[in-house]
Amino acid sequence: MVKKKVPLRVGETHVQAVRDTFPGAVLDAAWQAEDQVTVTVPKDMLPDVVEFLYYGRGGWLPNMVANDERPINGNYALYYLLSMEESDPGFVTVRAEVDPQSMEYPSVTPRVPACVWSEREAFDLFGLRAQGLPDERRLVLPDDWPADLYPLRKDSMDYRKRPAPVTDVENYSFLYEGRAEEVTEVPMGPLHITSDEPGHFRLFVEGEEIIDADYRLFYVHRGMEKVAESRLNYDAVTFLADRICGICGNAHSVAYAEAVEHAQGIEVPVRAQYIRAILLEVERLHSHLLNLGLVCHYCGFDTGFQHFFRVREKTMDLAVLLTGARKTYGLNLIGGVRRDILDAQKVATIKYVREIRNEVEALVDMLVSTANFESRTAGVGRLDPAVARDYSPVGPCVRGSGIARDVRFDHPFDGYKYLSGMKARSHDGCDVQSRTLVRVEEFMDSLTMIEQLLDGAPAGPVLTEDWRYTPHKFALGYTEAPRGEDMHWAQVGDNQKCYRWRAKAATYSNWPILRYMFRGNTVADAAIIVGSMDPCYSCTDRVTVVDVKKKTETVLTKDQLEGYCRRRTHSPLSGTGV
């Protein structure tokens, strides 16, 4: 018999490599989409297989998804999503089932640190315990949440009800990993909920130098995944996904739509793919201008800040022109987009793009020639490429450390498949300056991409309704938001609702590296380092300084801290008994 030569499917080399290295480990391998394969392994093999794919085969880990599959197959399941970015690029998901009696699985975090947040979250929301997880603190749930209530289990409390609070005191403990004994603890945050987003940072300082830092977030966890599962139909979730972020909502909406489209095998019309890419780039324009404006602000160049925001207003007008709203909200449906780009809009867009390009070039020129820019940003907030490799950060954060990871080019999707002459930007200074320069270059690239996409978009429909709904199929959807990749994992149920939807925002991957970026810098740099990450907020609200030894406490306001960040003289810590 002659063996037929079948071209290998995407990910097949990885599956084969796992089979060869760990005989008998692969219980099942199934493809959800052209570039996505899920490999089921016994749970004891999880750490070995994930580590092998991560470090051995060039994988990066966006996140892990836990799922309550008891109604389907009697078990819980974990999905470690791996983005393969060296040979044979694609997505390999390592799946393992966890039986509902033991509720335990071996932690992958000691081998691949990037899993840490996901494994903490899996315990919060499902009660699945990772054995050997170095950090077992709560991640998502508040201190007053009952210990035995796991909100995402299918038999959990009705989403419209709330459990009674179990405690009145905050009992979260911050971790200190440094060696020096006489350190001062500087808490930053968490509240001023009306003006900025809340987050609680704890800086461990020696004099002015930050030795270590820890933080707590999720003060505004909205339980969107639960709402999507219980209240919304699967086709309305694109509108909820928009609201995940006030800036990069469209990226989430596209990622969710694509997750469902990949799972259901829906072919999105080519014109819709172009339009999605154009809108994603419009979103990047206003997001990057916001961050560049903030860099000006932190460098004490507030005139520049105002001017970046003046030009940013034009990108918002562009969004109104193309989508009918200042935010690129509400345009995605499963199967395409809701609004076409007409000829008159195309002409107007090209005019906007030219104006914006000229103005931003002039402003950037002024920013980098500001004396403060070099001294405030160069060498500050260093992100070691080795740390980046361990934690899989995304976006300008990782690209500022010399690693050119960008979903648009690693796994081209939508209109990005048709671009020519573009590549992922990177700088290898590993500091705030590099991350800023990456953003500047990406901004200019975005303008070029919009022009290319507008020119290249073929005529045709923008929405397809030609598909059949198959329950329980799942897949990944991914986009490159301004802050890095958004990764959505969606599985629809048999009731026209999401059975499980896991939305991973870009910044979720970036927070765990912040403590490493803080180390070795001064308190004055803290704000600009957080800002350079461009998290969904760039201000730190309120600061309390605690001297552990003397048990004194000082409260600094946000203005004091920001002022100190700009001047770097007259430390607000001096003269307070520190």
Partner: protein, 177 residues
């Protein structure tokens, strides 16, 4: 520094006269949805499509009216209602000034009379919707219009009648066993 001053001079006034003069919004801007209660037949398509549950429909307590409500506080201005409306009875306008002093003013509501089933007497649809269906069927004519009398009955009663008719037919014609 000189460059900066030049840029400032070139930029001129970045602000507009709003709110002291009206702010023009481009065509296609998605603002406040306006409901035309005269055109509306209370079919409920918008209430089903609305992702944010801003539009809701309910029977009143004594089941004589069906109410159509919109809460502009919940509205996300996506325009799905406009897309699905068969009668163009709801349209997004360019109005964006929706702030109110009293929260109750964010809602608008109207009520439509309910049609009751000629057989069982239960409410089954808005009277306007039934009327509309009748007019459409009549204008279409042909076999579609033959059953126009059945519109007075609710779905459950019509099903029951159909089932009985089949049963009788099967008995008289000696259907397959």
């Amino acid at each position: 520094m000189l460059k900066l001053f030049k840029e400032i001079r070139k930029a001129g006034d970045a602000t507009t006269g709003y709110p002291f003069e009206p702010l023009a919004m481009p065509a296609g801007f998605r603002g406040k949805p306006e409901h035309n209660e005269k055109l509306c037949i209370a079919c409920g398509a918008c209430a089903i499509a609305c992702p944010a549950n801003a539009i809701t429909m309910d029977l009143n307590d004594d089941q004589s009216y069906v109410t159509w409500d919109i809460s502009y506080g919940r509205c996300i201005f996506c325009g799905r209602c406009q897309e699905v409306c068969p009668l163009f009875a709801i349209e997004l306008t360019t109005d964006f000034e929706l702030a109110v002093l009293n929260k109750a003013d964010l809602s608008e509501s109207c009520a439509y009379e309910v049609a009751r089933c000629a057989v069982c007497g239960k409410p089954y649809a808005a009277a306007k919707e039934v009327d509309y269906a009748r007019r459409v069927l009549k204008s279409v004519g042909g076999p579609a219009a033959a059953d126009v009398g059945k519109l007075d009955e609710c779905l459950a009663c019509r099903r029951r009648e159909d089932a009985r008719a089949f049963q009788a037919q099967a008995r008289t014609e000696g259907g397959a066993r």
